[in-house]
Symmetry: C2
Subunit: 241 residues, 2 copies
DNA sequence: GTCTTCGCTTGATGCATGTCAATCGCTCTT
DNA sequence: AAGAGCGATTGACATGCATCAAGCGAAGAC
C-alpha cells in the first residue's frame, strides 16, 4: 500500500484513534484490491473471511429470495460492510456487488477480532460504526413500513439534494433501475412516481432532477428526522467541541 | 437488588465474563424496576439516559409517522433495547412500551460507556449483542421486502412452533392485533391470512394454531435460513466445542 | 446513415393490502 | 339475565404496487 493511501485509511473514523502498532498490524495483513464494475464480492450464506472497507467507488448490498431480489443498501467510501457477520463469525445475510469500479480494503476477520480485544480505541470505533449501521437499517425498515413508494422517492430526492450540496438539483449517479430497487419499487413505478412528483415541485430532465418548489416537495414528502438521515448541525458541533 | 436476581443478571451473556469489580460498578448504579402492562418506557426522539435490559415480561418497540404506527420488534427476557442509541448518544429511533407487566434493569448510559472502555470482556459482549440486534433488523427488512404478508405469517408460525418446543401447536402469547402489527399487516388481514393458511396445513382455534400438515405449511412458507432466525445446530455445537 | 441494443417510459391489467363498516361472540358489569 | 364494551371476523371497496406487453429514444455497431 502506498504511504498516501495508508494515510487516508488512517484518517477514517474506524482507525483514527488506534495505536500506531495496532494500526500497522491491521495494515500488514490487509489487502487493498480493485474490482471492476458489476462484480459480486460476497455471497449471502457464506462465512466471513474479511472485513471490507470501501476506499473508492460504490458497493450495492442486496438479497435474493424465491426469485426476487432487493437492494438493502448502497455503500460509499469510508464505510464498512458485513461488520456484524465478522463480529459474530456467522454467515452473511446479504450479498455485495460493485456498482462502479471499486477499491476495497480487506482485513482478515480474525485480525479484526484480535485487535478489537487489544485496542480499546479500535473497540470503541467498531462499536460506533456498528451502532451507526444498525440505526441505518432501522431507518430503512421504518421508511419501508410507514411510507408509500412515492414518498420514499420524494424524501430521497430531498436528502440527496442536501447531501450533494446544491439543494435545488440532484444528479443521479446510479442506474434508475438500481435506484428503484434501493427505494423498494420496480423501475416502472419509479418512472410513474417521478411523473407524479412533477405535480409536487420536481421536474425531471433525464438523470437530473430539479427541485423547482422545495416547499411543495417537502409537504408531499413529510420528512422525518427519525426516518431520514438528516445531519443535526447543533449536535455535531457540540460533539467536536 | 436481591442476591438471586443479581446472580441471574450475572449469567446473561452481556455480563457473564465481565470482571467482578466492573460488574459491581454496573450494578451499584443500576435500577431494577417493575412496570405494569401498557406503559410507555421510552419515546422516539428523546436522548438515552439508561441502557434497558429486559429481566422479565415483554416489551414492544414501535414507531409512529404521519398518523400510522408500526411494531418493529418484541423484546423478551435477556435481551437489551436501545443499545445503539446509548452507544452513540443519539436520539431514540423507536418508542418502547410494555406488553405485559415487565421487570427492567436500567443502567445509566454514561456508566455503560465508561465500563465499555475499561473492560474488554464487556466491550466484546456489547459488540456481540449489537451485532446480533443488527442481524435481526436486517432479517426483518428482508422479510418485509421479499415476502407477502401471508408468507410472513406462515413463517412466523413455523418459527414460533420450533421456539415453543412443541412443533405442532402454537399458543399465542400476545394480542392478535399486536401480532398483526409485528408482522406488518392490519388485524383484518391477519384474520384473512389465517383463513388462507387453513388451506395449507394450519387450523385455528382461537389463540391456538395447530399445525396439521407441517410439510404443506413449509411449502407455502418457503422458510429461508437467511431471513428466519433458525437455530443452526451444527454450528452451535462447533462453537461450544 | 441505418440498425440494433438497452434503458426507460407508458398503458392495461391483476393481485396484495389497507380502509371503512357491519356483525359476531366473548367477558365483564350491574 | 340484559346490556355495554371490546377484540376478532367478514364483506365491500379503494388504492398501492407488480406484472406483462408494447413503444420510445439515445448510444453504439457496422
Amino acid at each position: 500500500m502506498r504511504p498516501q493511501q495508508r494515510q487516508s485509511v488512517r484518517s477514517l473514523p474506524l482507525f483514527h484513534r488506534v495505536s500506531e502498532a495496532h494500526f500497522a498490524e491491521l495494515m500488514d495483513t490487509a489487502l487493498l484490491q480493485r474490482f471492476p464494475e458489476g462484480v459480486t464480492i460476497i455471497q449471502e450464506g457464506d462465512l466471513p473471511d474479511f472485513l471490507h472497507i470501501v476506499v473508492g467507488g460504490m458497493v450495492e448490498l442486496f438479497a435474493r429470495h424465491d426469485g426476487h431480489e432487493t437492494t438493502l443498501d448502497i455503500i460509499e467510501p469510508g464505510s464498512t460492510f458485513i461488520l456484524a457477520a465478522v463480529v459474530r463469525d456467522e454467515t452473511y445475510l446479504k450479498s455485495a456487488r460493485t456498482l462502479t469500479s471499486t477499491q476495497l480494503l480487506m482485513i482478515p476477520a480474525g485480525v479484526v477480532r484480535s485487535i478489537f480485544g487489544k485496542d480499546a480505541a479500535f473497540a470503541r470505533a467498531i462499536v460506533e460504526e456498528l451502532a451507526e449501521r444498525y440505526r441505518c437499517v432501522v431507518r430503512a425498515l421504518k421508511n419501508e413500513k410507514l411510507r408509500t413508494s412515492a414518498q420514499r422517492l420524494a424524501n430521497w430526492v430531498l436528502q440527496e439534494g442536501a447531501r450533494q450540496g446544491n439543494r435545488h438539483e440532484v444528479t443521479l449517479k446510479i442506474d434508475k433501475r438500481t435506484l428503484a430497487s434501493r427505494l423498494g419499487m420496480t423501475p416502472e413505478n419509479l418512472s410513474r412516481n417521478l411523473g407524479l412528483l412533477a405535480r409536487h415541485g420536481l421536474s425531471i430532465q433525464g438523470p437530473r432532477f430539479i427541485i423547482d418548489d422545495a416547499a411543495a416537495l417537502r409537504i408531499y414528502a413529510r420528512p422525518n428526522a427519525l426516518i431520514d438521515d438528516i445531519a443535526e448541525p447543533e449536535r455535531i458541533m457540540a460533539r467536536s467541541a
